[in-house]
Assembly symmetry: C2
Homo-oligomer: 320 residues x 2
């Protein structure tokens, strides 16, 4: 089959990649896939991954071990867990120490004609949700992981930092409960997508454009850059919550005594729940159409990645 393949920081088009073997898992024919910032970080060395990248997809089940999903249109949770270890039994399957992760760790991903995943990872997509919307289920679920872990009140002041794909999804999700939310970014045309949904936005080109320090109950860092942390730290109030969504290659230097003195809570947040993401998409409560930059055929996947890497590009899709 046709697939993209990354190895030692290089991405190539592999026209004769092996078809994923039948191994008791479902076989899915990918109909649409998305390129995520994590995919770009992986090419920079994050996670030391070699194989087929990609973890955002929608597709049709070609083979289903139970027979129940054959022919159905599905999206898929990306962590394949062991189901039997203490972590899995404690209800944290996405943290299973034996897990593989689609296109990220130990498992070929979605930037290919076919992929495989355990049948339990798949979720049927409602007919009312198009492929172009369904392909956003995984990042939307990641945004929903924030309110799933942090109680955000309708009376809270919330700042979302970063007007990239993730920031735009997070802002839309968190604004749903009526909280006083401000999305900060560098790109007026991207902020406009959120503004169109009634979300307050601000272009912050310099320190003079920033809100008053220590004024937000919750700050979500989605910039994808190490310097986003310093800004988030500046904005969160004492005893407030700073949610970290960005993953990037490298370390950060933090004054931990200040974390103690200001009694701030830092929460790391990664993969989230698919069912509420599909419900929000089906109800049209989140705009994902406006987040699509372009769609490339899989054959032009290398060019698609190059385009996705350009500063300011929104979601680039791949069509096998």
């Amino acid at each position: 089959m046709l697939a993209l393949r990354c190895s030692a920081g290089q991405l190539i088009l592999d026209p004769v990649a092996p078809l994923p073997a039948n191994s008791g898992e479902a076989l899915v024919r990918v109909t649409l896939a998305g390129i995520c910032n994590t995919d770009l970080e992986i090419l920079r060395g994050y996670m030391d991954f070699a194989g087929v990248p990609g973890h955002e997809f929608v597709g049709i089940v070609e083979h289903s071990p139970s027979g129940q999903l054959k022919g159905r249109r599905v999206v898929g949770e990306i962590n394949a867990n062991c189901t039997v270890c203490a972590t899995c039994r404690a209800g944290h399957p996405t943290h299973c120490p034996h897990r593989t992760t689609l296109g990220i760790a130990g498992r070929d991903g979605a930037h290919a004609e076919y992929l495989r995943l355990p049948e339990r990872n798949l979720h049927i997509v409602p007919d009312s949700v198009s492929d172009e919307a369904a392909v956003f289920t995984e990042p939307l679920a990641a945004a929903l992981e924030i309110p799933d872990r942090v109680a955000i009140r309708p009376t809270d002041r919330v700042a979302v930092l970063g007007d990239g794909k993730l920031g735009l999804l997070v802002a839309q999700v968190l604004a749903l409960n009526g909280c006083d939310l401000l999305l900060l970014g560098h790109h007026p045309e991207k902020l406009q997508i959120a503004a169109g949904r009634g979300i307050a936005t601000r272009v912050s080109a310099s320190d003079d454009d920033l809100p008053a320090p220590a004024t937000f109950d919750v700050v979500v860092e989605c910039t994808g850059h190490p310097d986003g942390f310093a800004l988030a730290w500046r904005l969160v109030r004492p005893r407030g919550t700073l949610v970290l969504k960005s993953t990037f290659h490298g370390d950060l230097t933090v004054n931990m005594s200040q974390v103690v003195v200001d009694e701030v809570t830092l929460v790391g947040s990664r993969c989230g729940p698919f069912p509420p993401a599909l419900r929000l998409l089906a109800a049209g409560r989140v705009d994902v159409q406006g987040l699509i930059d372009s769609c490339f055929p899989l054959q032009q996947g290398v060019e698609a990645y190059a385009h996705a890497r350009e500063r300011g590009t929104l979601k680039v899709l791949l069509k096998p």
Copy 2:
């Protein structure tokens, strides 16, 4: 009056320090005070404080603006807040941006014959609580801030790192609800104090002596050393909570992407509530007597600090 005074990293005995003026605040004659690790960090430059150090005390009210506390034996919350700013009105007086803090920031402290504090900061000590116990109210309150902010279940596995004064108080407080708690330290004689209260302890002299990684639901870092963070990080499970209690002078380098991937919650915790601390002392549910190393007259305060600074010393008290 007699007082200790720190300035530019030097501690001196000042026999003619001015008596705190009557300024609408209560005047307290200190009967017993404690030396805290924070006091030692302040002498190393933490908080850039110059003045009378000390924030752990018990004393007798000599002057009370309302008249209601005159002659009463009291302990005192150390943050003097403005009561009118948004932070105070939101219920976070210990984070008031205009606050002064006894012996730490902008306000002379307890290592003197007298101190002053707003009357609202004072709590009457029950007769059944001795001065030697009451002087532990402030650090015990700091330990109680942990369960006041983090829900710790009786079924949780909890690790407390550090067998210093704070670690021994934290371990005793957290063990009260029946959780599966392990106190890790370097000093068998100190761990014995906790063991005597039925708390599991372990001497960790090398990496071989450590519990299995990623096995604790909650880890509390009380070592007072920057390298305590790495150990805490190693022990906390994915989606677990790491509580930071130590303040020290300097920064830490952290892999924040790992915080995101493991979805760990970091909680900074500082000052805590006095009323439950007094209730626990009155009920004898926490052993503080065993934490006392020695008691020096205030006149020998410089020597007392030197002794407190020696590795492995427990609580050193000062008697004016």
